[in-house]
């Protein structure tokens, strides 16, 4: 068990900077620390290092989403009117119901956050890029803005396609399963489905940009190894 733990420590310590790794592993060897204690110490150091690195971009991203959500909440009456169109087209005869008085407010908050994510996506993506940029080469870092803008555009396009095409199609198919029955769909159930379809489509379309970036990196790495 001890040997496995030390092998694990050796592996995990590769996440540290080379000089720090050298100093830390040397300290463990010199002080004769137990494997369990060394593993705990190493985990503590890594958590501190990662949180120092990730704390700011993650907080900024959350702040960006919060601002976006606040803006969307103020404009939610207009946004809801637009977003509810495929729903009112499909469920025109039945309409939607809600079970408790707080449901509509919950829904407005939930929709504000989702719309806030779309609105703040360029800023959030920029922050996520900053998170990984220390591990990227200067050439890769040169693609920061094209990547952020393209990915945001693809995310918005995916959301639009999901809303305009995937959601009405999904609704038609799902409601046709029980065409002789009367649907009693609650707003929460409906919007959970709508959010899943729209955000899911947006993420799939957005991932094209990531795949393209990875493909370019791989191609460049191959080119370098051949020369």
């Amino acid at each position: 068990v001890t040997r496995i733990a030390w092998r694990l420590i050796e592996r995990v310590s590769r996440l540290l900077e080379p000089n720090e790794r050298e100093a830390v592993l040397g300290d463990f060897a010199e002080t004769g620390e137990s494997a369990a204690r060394a593993l705990l110490d190493l985990a503590g150091l890594l958590i501190r290092r990662r949180s120092a690195l990730w704390g700011k971009p993650l907080l900024c991203s959350l702040g960006g989403i919060a601002v976006g959500a606040a803006v969307c909440f103020v404009l939610m009456d207009h946004i809801y009117g637009y977003l509810a169109r495929p729903l009112t087209d499909s469920l025109v005869a039945t309409g939607l119901s809600y079970a408790t008085p707080v449901n509509p407010f919950d829904l407005y908050v939930k929709l504000s956050v989702v719309c806030g994510v779309f609105l703040a996506s360029p800023y959030v993506l920029r922050q996520l890029w900053l998170l990984f940029s220390p591990h990227l080469s200067p050439v890769d870092n040169g693609y920061a803005w094209p990547f952020v803008l393209l990915t945001s555009a693809l995310f918005a396009t995916g959301g639009f396609v999901g809303y305009e095409w995937a959601l009405p199609t999904a609704l038609r198919v799902l409601l046709n399963f029980a065409s002789r029955s009367r649907a009693m769909v609650t707003i929460n159930e409906f919007w959970n489905l709508a959010i899943a379809v729209v955000v899911g489509t947006a993420l799939v379309v957005e991932s094209l940009s990531l795949c393209g970036f990875m493909y370019m990196r791989q191609k460049r790495a191959k080119g370098c190894s051949q020369t």
Binding site: D27, E30, L40, D41, L45
Partner: protein
Amino acid sequence: MLGEFEYLILAATACLGEDAYGAAIRVEMHRSTGHWCSLGALYTTLDRLEAKALIETWMGSPTPQRGGRAKRMVRITARGVRAAAAFYDTVARASRGLSWDTNRTRLRT
């Protein structure tokens, strides 16, 4: 103004002189406080102190008792000495006349 943990590291570093490095500072701090500090706290605080120019660090040469690994050597700067002295003066001034300070003086005499 320094934090208490930062002061302890500066004090241990000053005490060890030319032999101050990660593991030795931890042992020295354990000797003076009776507690083992975590490695994460030590190394992140060393970085913070270095960023404030209160210490200097560099990689030493590898040694056999460390499994051929190098040490991260630490040296306190003149600015670090001034910051530690200021912290000590503040604590001493703030403690003057308090029960634990007077009892301590009485015990000494």
